[in-house]
Amino acid sequence: MRNLWIFVSRYNAFFFFVIFFITGIVLTVKNNAYQRSVTVNSTNKVVGDVYNNLNILKKYMNLGMVNDSLSAENARLKTEILALRSVDTARDVTIKDTMGTPQYTYLAARVIKNSITLRNNVITINKGSLDDIKPGMSVISPGKGVVGYIRDVSEHLATIQSLLHQKTYVSVSIKKNHAVGSLIWGERNLDYRKAYIKEIPNHFKVKLGDTVVTSIYSKFPSGIPVGTVSNTGIATGGNFMTIEINLINDFSTLQYVYVIKNKYAAEQQALEAKNSDEQ
């Protein structure tokens, strides 16, 4: 027993290493699992506050650009309203949008932490469970395409699993021929302006510059622009092709995002869960 103790204390560096290393690995694996119980991340109040305060400077520097994009969006929305409420002179009645309660509602939130340089990027925003944000909700940026899914939520803050994350898949389709594929980012190329679409069947014709939008199968509302095709010549050797696209969304200057609340999300989930039981 004594010899054992001498042995352990002599090589204590190694034994401590094993203990702490295993602790670290356990934390990593736990964080990778879908259910995360530990909140050592940027939804944590202290960390969130730091980012919130630090972001003030950055916000001022980008103010002009944000203003421009917001006014551009305002203008677009105004024209849309005009189109919806236009007066039909032939019949002299005002046509209004009759859809009483829309399926999707948007909630604007400010980005307080963003990263584009990592393998798995996470964005933090300044709205949380008090604003009815739940994990799994989809997030888009003002008029500029998809951002990601909500990941962790605390009272006043939430993190978004960015599109620039190896676990984010978005179902997208080519706008002109509705070929459906799945959008991924960062296999051997961590450029934040580029992404890849996989699993598009070979018989579809795709040209450079074709617009890519979210498909009807995605968690996002369908038809949201994602990017434009920039390279079609990636050899895969299978029945499916891989396409490189330029993302419309510039993740490096992201300031505001819209969290999309789907009114029928819970209903759809319950229905689909029933399906998967029977398989």
């Binding site: 190694f14 290393f21 736990k30 940027s42 960390v47 340089t117 990592l118 961590l190």
Partner: protein, 171 residues
């Protein structure tokens, strides 16, 4: 270990982590190389510290970084690995009773020793960091390339900071 040394190390911790979180987190060369200069703090911890304290300090440094990077466990494990390599390296190269210098800085230990020391520690840290961050083996070659690039970048900044802040003492 006197109180001045502790104070110096705490200040160093705060400054290096602030720089890492505010500045270097947003820095990247061609999406390949990102510097993690905060490991300089772990490299410069004094010689006399007991191993368990070293590991605890590394653990909480890593945990703090993880909270800000939203990568729970990745930096923690990498820092633990760095400390293990550090202990091994120091036990092999520095005689046990000859701790006449308080800290393993460039000025105290000489350029050759420090470069080798930083090289081993940096690459062990980065290897664990990038493998855990990717967490899959299908992109192994690309991950290793990123690890190599970032490692060189980190090593460069670490040695640079050492050259700026520490004067060579007459040995």
């Amino acid at each position: 270990m006197n109180s001045k040394l502790i104070l110096v190390n705490i200040t160093r911790w705060v400054i290096l982590l602030l720089i890492q979180i505010l500045l270097l987190r947003n820095l990247s060369f061609y999406n390949m190389a990102t510097p993690f200069t905060y490991i300089l703090f772990l490299l410069l911890l004094p010689f006399g510290i007991p191993n368990i304290v070293l590991y605890l300090v590394a653990f909480f440094t890593g945990l703090t970084l993880d909270a800000f990077y939203d990568t729970l466990g990745v930096h923690t494990t990498a820092c633990i690995t760095l400390v293990f390599v550090r202990i091994l390296f120091i036990s092999v190269t520095v005689s046990r009773d000859g701790f006449d210098e308080p800290e393993p800085t460039l000025g105290n230990m000489g350029f050759k020793w420090f470069l080798l020391y930083a090289l081993f520690c940096t690459f062990s840290h980065h290897l664990v960091l990038f493998l855990l961050e990717t967490f899959r083996l299908t992109e192994l070659s690309y991950t290793l390339l990123r690890c190599l690039m970032s490692g060189m970048f980190t090593l460069f900044t670490v040695v640079l900071v050492e050259f700026i802040f520490y004067n060579r003492k007459a040995r």
